[in-house]
């Protein structure tokens, strides 16, 4: 008899424990406003990212198509994966000295190798590069992941050494 009472007690307790869990599930089922899920491709207009969000490396250009990269290779040395490669060219400094000078020809950035660790941004002494908020990187062609960050015809901003 004692066994029977204990048995029925356990069954009742079990049912109540299951009921309390199911009640919570049911609560959220009937209150869809308390659900936080966002439907990603549909919420592009309202999507907000933090200002420090790390999307991809970009070389900032101003309206005169000038950038601040002196080609010091600090970022290239700081990168753990060899993502950045800076190619030089010799340009003649016509306005002042008329001597030949080194300047960047191509700022090559392999997006496929980048781990977005932010070390290059911190290493840059002239704040020439920064992280953009663009995070949709998928492409059909792997070649398109190798990018040249300096725009064609761009040159070094005056006063940046």
């Amino acid at each position: 008899m004692k066994f029977l009472i204990e048995y029925i007690g356990t069954v009742l307790k079990s049912i109540s424990s299951l009921w309390s869990g199911m009640r919570l599930t049911g609560y959220y089922f009937t209150h869809p406003k308390e659900i936080h899920t966002q439907q990603y491709p549909d919420n592009r207009a309202t999507l907000t990212l933090g200002e420090r969000f790390r999307g991809e490396v970009v070389l900032t250009h101003d309206e005169n198509n000038e950038h601040k990269c002196t080609g010091c290779t600090s970022c290239e040395l700081a990168c753990p994966n060899g993502t950045i490669k800076i190619v030089y060219k010799n340009v003649v400094d016509e306005e002042e000295t008329g001597k030949k000078k080194k300047a960047i020809d191509e700022f090559v950035y392999h997006l496929g190798m980048c781990t977005f660790c932010n070390l290059c941004i911190i290493a840059c002494p002239t704040d020439a590069i920064k992280m953009s908020h663009d995070f949709e990187h998928s492409t059909f062609d792997r070649k398109s992941l190798t990018k040249i960050l300096n725009k064609p015809g761009s040159k070094l901003m005056k006063g940046v050494e």
Binding site: L24, T25, H36, R52, C117, N118, L119
Partner: protein, 376 residues
Amino acid sequence: MINKEEIENLTQAHEEDFILNVGPQHPSTHGVLRLKIKLQGETVVHIEPHLGYIHRSIEKMCEASSYRNFIYLTSRMDYLSAHINNQACAMAVEKGLQLEIPKRAKVIRILMSELTRLASHQLWWAATGLDLGATTPFFVGFRDREVIMDIFDETCGSRLTMDYNVPGGTMFDLHPNFQKNVHAFLKGFKKNLPEYHQLLSGNIIFQNRTKGVGYLSPEDAVSFGCSGPTARGSGVSCDIRKWHPYDGYEEVQFNEVLETAGDCYARYCVRMKEMEESVKIIEQLIDNIPEGDFQDKTKAVLKLPKGEFYSRVETARGELGVYLVSDGTSKPYRMKFRSPNFSNLSALRQIAVGGKIGDLVANMAMLDLVIPDIDR
């Protein structure tokens, strides 16, 4: 302990034995872990974990990169406590440089570590529910974790692999909204924590599947080198934050959570109570963040003196040790990581052999394995 003869007996195949492969792509292994299981009927008689499916030779890669660069690699070991891994490596380098980091950086590190621990335990709780057949916990756990991820996103710039700790302090200062957001999270989480118990802890099916299942004695826990909640569930006091305080943990008040039952439910309880302790630590510090620098000025190229440096931290899964040998150049001569999951996995055979195949999933879930940390 199973002795050698017993293992030999078990590994010999019998006609009625059934060899079962779990993994490398089984959802309940939480990664690419392969278990070779020998069954007699429904009883597990032998387990052999096979590793190496996600081996990336992180230790060797660290030896090829500079002291500033190798830290980012360690976020990829135990990715759920990435911040704590980074902290361990930064601490080892700071030991070599004999650098005392600013007080503000220490407090930021503790705050971030405890938030990481909370996020990790929430994901573990969510995945445990899913492993044991309950779907709702998965969404409830992820809902609260998402708030922490947003806080990381705002301050560190990244959600999972933060790379926020650098030798000498932290990469950035805290975001101006940090305190406000953490307060909002704490308020919401304290309200939601009873839901966790309502959904899973009190559930009779969950209790029957975990209570008395997978017993690990304290002696075995020590001899297998278990740490973290796995060992604390067996009553072994091993919290590095208490025993060897680092980065200012000696100044905060919290309790080391211990359970003595040694079964799956005890390990579950340890983690649930640890979440409350983490909340307690964050509450103590969030309003008392000291002013000052967040980073000590270091040279562009770090060079450590000749010698060996070791630092240990308590990650969400146990003790992580970083052993660094320097030969005086700008790159480490040898790196060695003592990862908590590798040791915890070695106890799986002790826990699961003799039990039923259905209990294996519960045992695996309660060890809270992260496979990239085992293989490295």
